[in-house]
């Protein structure tokens, strides 16, 4: 497939960086892109959002790491990954060679971790920008998740923005598990975030009827998939209403072009497809195609025109 099947101009941007198309992978849901190669032309992706990387290699949590739930799943991977050295040596060059832009998701448990990761990623070829996964426990605040506290969240974002390559946009990835997402969005934007990724998973728990204990070793896990889509669209809607100038990378349960359209109409200028890739490895390409067709049918000549249209 090629990027342009319809007359609709599907180009968009992440902050100041132009993207050929609006459909990205979601962090942790397509590893580093390699495994999708048999199923999709990676060049058709707006970008590969990489699995969140930390400073050191991480084993991740013991299994079981997932539970299927109605129209969704719970996961508790524990950010298994190669660490920043591994990423710089292996995955990023692989993507760069193929001309596939990488939106690198970074994670840490201290503000300084995030800043160091941003420093290490300055000027790295093919790194289009950074997505800051602040849905991690903050070791300096009794393990409270950064994303759940506007101050902690903005500390991380300010440090990353200061350390990062100025040419790389910095997106803060927000958690829906807050009483009001707008103050968090406002505070990270004021701290310098060039855009917002929404949403990360919801905190959930499944009890195994056989063992009568939580399925996941980590007790709770992150809920994703179509089940959470109405929550995700609501978050995008609320934040776009409050901060219409802030670009949004929307995600949470996108499976089809019409699902993606909901996010675009609510205010997202690009979308990530996460869990749907597990059920359909070619989902990203299909969503792109279906979204382009849906926009054309509705008389849009460009994706940009449709962004936030439901508010008008």
């Amino acid at each position: 497939m090629t990027l342009v099947e319809t007359s609709v101009d599907m180009t968009t941007a992440l902050g100041s960086v132009p993207l050929a198309g609006p459909v990205l992978t979601a962090s942790g849901c397509s590893a580093f892109g390699q495994e999708l190669e048999p199923f999709v032309d990676l060049a058709t992706l707006g970008a590969v959002v990489t699995k969140s990387v930390q400073l050191r290699p991480r084993s991740g949590r013991p299994t079981p790491r997932m539970a299927e739930t109605p129209s969704g799943m719970l996961n508790s991977i524990g950010l298994q990954g190669p660490g920043i050295d591994g990423l710089l040596a292996g995955e990023l060059p692989w993507l760069a060679e193929r001309g596939v832009p990488a939106f690198v998701s970074i994670a840490g448990t201290r503000v300084e971790d995030f800043a160091e990761l941003a420093t290490r990623l300055r000027g790295v070829p093919g790194v289009l920008g950074l997505e800051v996964n602040i849905s991690c426990p903050n070791v300096e605040s009794r393990g409270e998740v950064f994303a759940c506290d506007p101050v902690a969240a903005s500390d991380v974002v300010a440090a990353v923005r200061a350390a990062a390559d100025p040419a790389q946009p910095v997106y803060a990835k927000l958690s829906p598990d807050v009483t009001d997402i707008v103050p968090v969005a406002r505070s990270v934007t004021e701290a310098g975030a060039d855009g917002l990724s929404m949403i990360n998973t919801l905190l959930g728990l499944v009890i195994d009827p056989d063992t009568m204990k939580p399925v996941l070793g980590g007790v709770t896990g992150g809920l994703s998939g179509p089940a959470v889509r109405p929550v995700a669209v609501r978050c995008v809607w609320q934040v776009h209403a409050a901060l219409p100038e802030v670009p949004i990378l929307g995600m949470g349960g996108i499976r089809s072009g019409l699902d993606a359209l909901q996010f675009v109409l609510a205010g997202a200028s690009a979308v990530s497809v996460g869990t749907a890739v597990f059920s359909d490895p070619s989902a990203t390409a299909r969503v792109h195609r279906e979204l382009a067709a849906a926009l054309a049918e509705r008389g849009f000549s460009s994706l940009r025109e449709a962004v936030g249209h439901a508010h008008r």
Binding site: G28, R56, G60, P64, Q80, G217, V277
Partner: protein
């Protein structure tokens, strides 16, 4: 550093495809259902030990995750792939209810195939329950390469035995065991494995984890390399989700949480740390970053 009998299994020769395919036959087989699918591109690419992953539940399904099922046979001429399904939860039950003419969405072949020994090597193949089905293709391939094939098919009871006729036709010797004695010899597969491992140059196993462990241990104890096809809960089957990991010792002697879908399902039997499956041993690469400290 311990030395290992096995080399890690290499990748398959060809990448997988994703196709909507038709069921061409569906036949009960004891406690299982055997389905044949018209899937020429899968049939032509598949190597013994690989599996396919099915979308389940139809277009309105609430169950998003694919179900992995071992490839029990291929007929590249006819363009068909055969699988044996044990109805268990909602997904496998739905699969087992498919009828000829129905279509299913399948991704495959997935995973790494069984590495083959030097031509002529005597091979012991051990299948537990429906796991025996995954060994039929391997038995044929080994025979065609001049191996003597010794096979064991075991199960809890006669209804859960699988592929006994197929393996009987292909193997030079077949032992059947059932836990309850309702068919073949009474007892676990290990009663036969212990007898046959000495004659074997390599062992292969597919079935429940405790069986894989027993076969791997017996082989290693006898100085025989073994390959096991593990069955871990998988969300994607293609290597992108990291749900299906287990601790496996790599070529460098370090233990990593390896994905059973893309780095397996076939692993060297002496490389899988069976006792640590579901745990996080301190010496797994990256365990330190999780706060696990060496004892």
């Amino acid at each position: 550093m311990t030395s290992y009998l096995t080399e890690p299994a290499p990748k398959a020769d060809q990448p997988p495809v994703q196709r909507e395919v038709e069921v061409v036959s569906a036949a009960p087989a004891g406690a299982y259902v055997q389905l044949a699918l018209a899937a020429p591109e899968v049939a032509e690419r598949a190597q013994p030990g690989q599996f396919v992953a099915f979308a389940v539940g139809g277009p309105m399904t609430a169950n998003l995750l694919r179900r992995s099922i071992a490839i029990a046979g291929t007929d590249p001429g006819a363009g068909t792939v055969t699988v044996v399904v044990a109805p268990h939860g909602p997904g496998s039950t739905w699969l087992a209810e498919r009828r000829p003419g129905d279509t299913v969405d399948v991704v495959g072949p997935l995973g790494r195939p069984f590495p083959l020994p030097a031509p002529g090597t005597t091979a012991l193949l051990v299948g537990g329950g429906y796991g025996a089905a995954a060994l039929v293709g391997l038995a044929g391939l080994l025979r065609s390469r001049g191996s003597r094939v010794l096979a064991v098919s075991g199960a809890a009871d006669a209804a859960r035995l699988c592929s006994v006729d197929d393996l009987g036709a292909l193997a030079d010797r077949l032992e059947v065991t059932t836990d309850d004695g309702s068919a073949g010899r009474a007892g676990r597969v290990t009663v036969a494995v212990d007898e046959l491992i000495g004659e074997s140059g390599v062992a292969y196993a597919c079935g429940p984890m405790p069986m894989l462990r027993a076969v791997a241990d017996a082989a290693t104890a006898a100085g025989v390399p073994s390959y096991v096809a593990v069955e871990e809960s998988m969300a994607c089957g293609i290597g992108v989700c990291m749900t299906c990991v287990l601790p496996v010792v790599g070529a460098d002697g370090l233990t990593r949480f390896s994905r059973s879908c893309t780095e397996g399902p076939v692993f060297g039997g002496d490389r899988v740390r069976f006792a640590d499956v579901g745990a996080l041993p301190w010496d797994v690469v990256g365990a330190d970053a999780m706060g696990v400290v060496a004892p």
